[in-house]
Symmetry: C2
Subunit: 231 residues, 2 copies
């Protein structure tokens, strides 16, 4: 039954969601991809996402704008707050300032609305609780709670067509994600992970110093590959 | 402690959310109101909301645009689908076509992000499970599931500052909501409930035939008041 294999895949243009998309496609899902423009300073990731999903053969890509950036409170959306380096982050114990309040809740909610309209029962998200930045909405218990909510919140849920939130990377180390993606043929050269990319000439370049850049770099080193985006 | 009494109140410009706002204000909350422009055809409600909250003394009103209207699938956002009359609706048993997929999930997610930035612990929503249109995301079990999610999803939640989703109208009949609002001084003449308002000259006018208009009218009749918006 073709309709049971529709999925909505949240893609940010980063490494994790590219891997998740490759996995969903390999599993035979017909994927509609969804990127959210939430006023992030690293808007270049939306361009990456567009190119990436087209290269991976996705024909239905959606971009939804939601202006929560104006709420402030995060270095990723508030230009008045500097993106910390990983070094600076390590001196804090708190959830870092790069945390965007309720981001994954908002992303999954929008994906849920789209899934319901499309008749998709599976929503994929690249959340990861291992090599991540300590965000509360990247934990398995968050994914479980959202799954429960999704099945109470929607027409399809209460009609018994269970909605699944699939977070296949949630327990994986970054190096293992990279190994999986390379096996699945992901072009990591086309992904962007940096929280604070700099424009060099007309080209966007990763800062190399933010938490996300450092986690990515360490992952490639551990996996034993060189990062094609740094070439 | 003043900071414990901050609240985010979702306001649509309709009767229910106006009543909820009046209740939150009466309870002593310092309220930031939030309206969502989701591509609804009844955009006039956003104007109503702006005027209403200003009249009620709210100084921090936010409007967030999110273009889920493009997803389609609902008569409230898709101009190709007619808004049914209540008569037509009664011939169906399903969740009606005016249901907007995942709407309250999306609204509460955005409110959650705003609450976290503001340091508010209470989020008010005018969801109602009695005289409503049969939407899955207006039921008490949905509100409970979202509350659980909210406390897993956020920094403040995991730090033990419990977030509460308050839906004080959830079990109330429309007539009782109207009685409560009148007692609290709500100016229902400034609210708009219609799903399909018509422009008559330069003035927006309720259609009188959609489910929302009919539920409102019956509520006023039962409460023993005339609707100031119909005057």
């Amino acid at each position: 039954m073709i309709s049971n294999k529709k999925a909505v895949v949240l893609v940010s243009g980063g490494l994790d969601s590219a891997t998740v998309l490759a996995e969903a496609l390999a599993d035979g899902y017909v994927c509609t991809t969804l990127s959210v423009n939430y006023g992030q300073r690293h808007l270049v990731e939306l361009e990456c996402a567009r190119k990436l999903v087209a290269d991976m053969g996705v024909t239905d890509h959606r971009e939804v704008a939601i202006d929560i950036g104006g709420f402030g409170g995060s270095a990723l959306t508030d230009k008045a707050i500097d993106v910390p380096t990983q070094m600076e982050l390590k001196q804090q114990k708190d959830i870092p300032i790069t945390y965007v309040p309720a981001r994954n809740t908002i992303f999954l909610s929008v994906a849920l609305g789209l899934a319901e309209v499309l008749g998709a029962r599976d929503i994929f998200i690249g959340a990861n609780a291992v090599d991540y930045s300590g965000y509360p909405d990247c934990r398995p218990e968050f994914i479980s709670a959202f799954t429960e909510l999704a099945n109470l919140a929607t027409r399809c849920g209460i009609e018994g067509n269970t909605i699944q939130i699939q977070a296949p990377l949630i327990d994986m180390a970054k190096a293992d994600i990279i190994r999986l993606g390379i096996q699945l043929g992901v072009d990591y050269g086309a992904t962007s992970s940096c929280y604070n990319p700099q424009l060099v000439g007309s080209k966007s370049q990763a800062c190399g110093e933010c938490d996300s850049c450092q986690i990515r770099e360490a992952g490639f080193v551990e996996a034993g590959y060189s990062d094609p985006a740094s070439a």
